[in-house]
């Protein structure tokens, strides 16, 4: 079999690992005000978004009752350069409408209690490519659709221990639902010498996780106009299951139907009748420590910064999860009111890859792509309500190795844009 056809077989056989974005620990930014400030919110958190960033902050909520809702439009483009036969780029894109946060706060005695629903990670990737003839390949059609979403839903309580110090706890239910469908259809040209006609690979995988994510936070004001937050959380999985189905068929010009593997290079992967396999087992999520500082010099200006540490996690042979390295990400944000009714917000954040660097000469490596993002928004306040409109832009670059059993490395770029519309209301 020619080298190019071998590469294609490897591509067709590439293991599919169904995890939304296990390569980054900072994914979705949630909340009305936090979105515009790039998620630099641990030192602020005095509104419903505080239930996600630092539950202790809601004890300082200024309004007795607040509810918030966020809708975002997300577009993403990922390019794996020269992924196919060292010549053609792999392109994946996504577009989704994502109502990714809802929360409500209510005072109860000396406590502030609340309930929130957040989509903390969401991936929706589509790939629909029909490659032109190259080498011994007449036509190669590739269709992939991947959806992976993580929800955190649950209650939060917080109270002031003293005026300057508060403590809070969120207990979120973790639910993850992921699905991957991939179809690859390859037609060989007459020039190839193996008498092959067609190769078809279909792969389907479905994953479900349930768990809890306790989040403990404190917030402290050491001096006037300053606030410091510290939060620790971890997701503990209670149950997880993954179902996979793979089918692989190769035909030639002499035989009717799919070839049995002894007829094709003695490779047991060259024919796969549909078979469903199930895996039970839980991966490990990292410990996350978030610390933030906020400076409130005037009632019109606010500056904040967060540092987010995630620990390393172990690999899982059963599920194919490769484990992750520890990361340290950062975010900075600013809010400025030019009148009591208008405010602008801006921020920047990082989402560093939690995978090891891709090393030349090795195979089967996870992609390593560092992402940087910028956020901005404008808000209009009215009696009891606020409406915000904003944009998030992110850019990532790094290396990937999407072809199994190949040492080829693809330079990878990610370009994303999100438009968000949020509302909040006090009553």
């Amino acid at each position: 079999m020619t080298r190019q056809a071998l590469a294609l077989v490897a591509l067709c056989s590439a293991p599919f690992v169904l995890y939304a974005n296990p390569n980054h620990n900072v994914n979705q930014i949630v909340g009305d005000r936090a979105l515009g400030m790039a998620g630099a919110y641990a030192g602020i958190s005095d509104d419903p978004a505080g239930m996600y960033y630092n539950p202790a902050g809601i004890a300082y909520s200024h309004s007795t009752n607040i509810s918030a809702n966020v809708n975002t439009l997300q577009a993403l483009d990922i390019t794996y350069q020269d992924a196919l036969a060292g010549e053609f780029d792999y392109n994946r894109n996504s577009f989704q409408v994502l109502p990714n946060f809802f929360g409500v706060l209510q005072p109860l005695g000396g406590w502030m209690v609340g309930f929130s629903s957040s989509i903390v990670d969401s991936v929706q990737e589509n790939q629909d490519q029909d490659f032109l003839p190259f080498g011994v390949i007449e036509r190669f059609i590739l269709n992939t659709s991947k959806v992976d979403t993580i929800y955190n839903i649950g209650p939060t309580v917080a109270t002031k221990l003293i005026d300057e110090l508060s403590i809070g706890l969120s207990l979120h239910f973790h639910y993850r639902r992921a699905e991957l469908i991939s179809n690859q259809h390859l037609i060989y040209s007459a020039e190839q010498t193996e008498n092959l006609d067609m190769r078809w690979v279909n792969f389907y995988s479905k994953l479900s996780e349930q768990g809890i994510r306790p989040k403990l936070g404190i917030q402290w004001s050491p001096a006037a106009n300053w606030s410091i937050g510290l939060v620790v959380d971890k997701t503990f999985l209670v149950a997880a299951s993954e179902t996979q189905q793979k089918a692989h068929c190769v035909t030639n010009n002499s035989t009717v139907g799919c070839l049995d593997f002894p007829d094709v290079d003695q490779n047991p992967d060259d024919r796969q009748d549909p078979e469903i396999t199930e895996y039970q087992g839980t991966r490990t999520y990292p410990w996350q420590v978030r610390t933030g500082i906020a400076w409130f010099p005037t009632s019109a200006l606010l500056v904040s910064a967060d540092a987010i540490y995630n620990s390393a996690t172990a690999a899982s042979e059963e599920t194919g999860y490769a484990g992750r390295e520890q990361t340290l990400d950062g975010a900075v944000g600013l809010e400025w009111y030019w009148s009591p009714q208008w405010a602008v917000r801006g921020g920047a954040y990082t989402a560093f890859a939690s995978t090891p660097e891709v090393i030349t000469g090795q195979t089967g490596q996870e992609g390593h792509i560092d992402i940087y993002g910028l956020t901005t928004s404008i808000t209009r306040f009215n009696k009891g309500s606020a409406i915000s409109l904003g944009l998030i832009g992110n850019y990532g670059s790094g290396s990937s190795q999407i072809v199994a059993d190949s040492t080829a490395i693809q330079e990878t770029t990610i370009l994303g844009m999100t438009a968000f519309f949020t509302t909040s209301y006090r009553y």
């Binding site: 602020i44 005095d46 300082y60 200024h62 309004s63 007795t64 005026d163 300057e164 402290w220 004001s221 050491p222 001096a223 006037a224 106009n225 300053w226 606030s227 410091i228 510290l230 420590v289 610390t291 409130f296 009632s299 019109a300 606010l302 540092a307 540490y309 520890q326 990361t327 340290l328 809010e335 009111y337 009148s339 009591p340 009714q341 405010a343 306040f381 009215n382 009696k383 009891g384 606020a386 009553y427």
Partner: protein
């Protein structure tokens, strides 16, 4: 290595915890401009406030009588109307009455209904002192302290003051009765929040100065009240912060704003002409 960075992450807030003195911060520093913004009231808001205040005033007057001295009542009302010009609440008509009650106190109800006890008036020595007390009560109305204390807002709110004041159905009538009782409890027993009383004292000082009255007269009156013996002082002590704290606060405000020793009007003779 990330471990030293992680330790630094945790150490920084801890260092700040141990390294900084425990300075009590301004608890409102988190409030943003939109939180502090007080939009112009709608006509419905004002109308509801007046109707509710009238109900509370009527309930109060059901238990007391006005002092039977029309000249004196007119004098107090005229002075009050003069001070209202500096209140920023030109949208409501203020009403002033001296009630025949020996205790020392004054009450400000929503919508501009202000009552002064005869006991409080008897302790005054000049018109500037009367202006200070009236300005204090006017400030409670203009800042809506009692409305905020009742946690009732205007229209478009789930607990609508307009709906309560309308008494449109049994539920609203019951709620109105409860709100009225609560308002009177605040005025006569519990008192407003300390910060609201201090706020009213500060505004009273500035109102007196703008109106041409000597601001020291207000402090003199409070000092005289604090030295009064007997039951007459009981209610005002219960419903207001301590006189020591109030006088300290007034001293700070005068010092900070250069209001000490202003040779402004006291108007002793005119006051005594209406209060022999």
């Amino acid at each position: 290595m990330f471990i030293p960075k992680f330790l630094g992450l945790v150490a920084l807030p801890l260092m700040l915890l141990t390294g900084c003195s425990t300075v009590s911060p301004d608890s409102d520093f988190r409030a943003r401009l939109s939180d502090l913004y007080q939009p112009v009231d709608s006509a419905a808001d004002v109308s509801a406030e007046i109707r509710f205040g009238r109900t509370v005033a009527a309930r109060y007057l059901g238990g007391v009588d006005g002092v039977d001295n029309n000249l004196m009542q007119r004098y107090v009302s005229t002075l009050g109307a003069y001070l209202v010009q500096y209140s920023g609440r030109s949208d409501i008509d203020f009403h002033f009455m001296v009630v025949d009650v020996p205790t020392i106190n004054a009450y400000a109800m929503p919508g501009g209904y202000i009552f002064l006890t005869s006991g409080a008036l008897a302790l005054m020595q000049n018109e500037a002192e009367l202006a200070g007390v009236l300005a204090h009560e006017i400030a409670h109305v203009s800042e809506k302290h009692i409305v905020k204390a009742l946690n009732i807002r205007g229209l478009n709110s789930s607990a609508s003051l307009s709906q309560l004041a309308s008494g449109a159905n049994d539920a609203f009538r019951v709620a109105l009765d409860q709100a009225t009782d609560l308002a009177l409890d605040i005025l006569q027993e519990d008192g407003l929040q300390r910060k609201d009383e201090f706020n009213a004292d500060e505004i009273a000082l500035f109102t007196m100065v703008q109106a041409g009255y000597a601001p020291d007269a207000y402090s003199d009156y409070l000092l005289r009240v604090s030295q009064t013996q007997g039951d007459a002082l009981a209610q005002v002590s219960q419903t207001h912060p301590s006189f020591v704290d109030r006088l300290d606060n007034l001293t700070s405000v005068k010092n900070a704003n250069g209001l000490n020793g202003l040779d402004y009007a006291l108007l002793v003779d005119r006051f005594k002409a209406f209060n022999p």
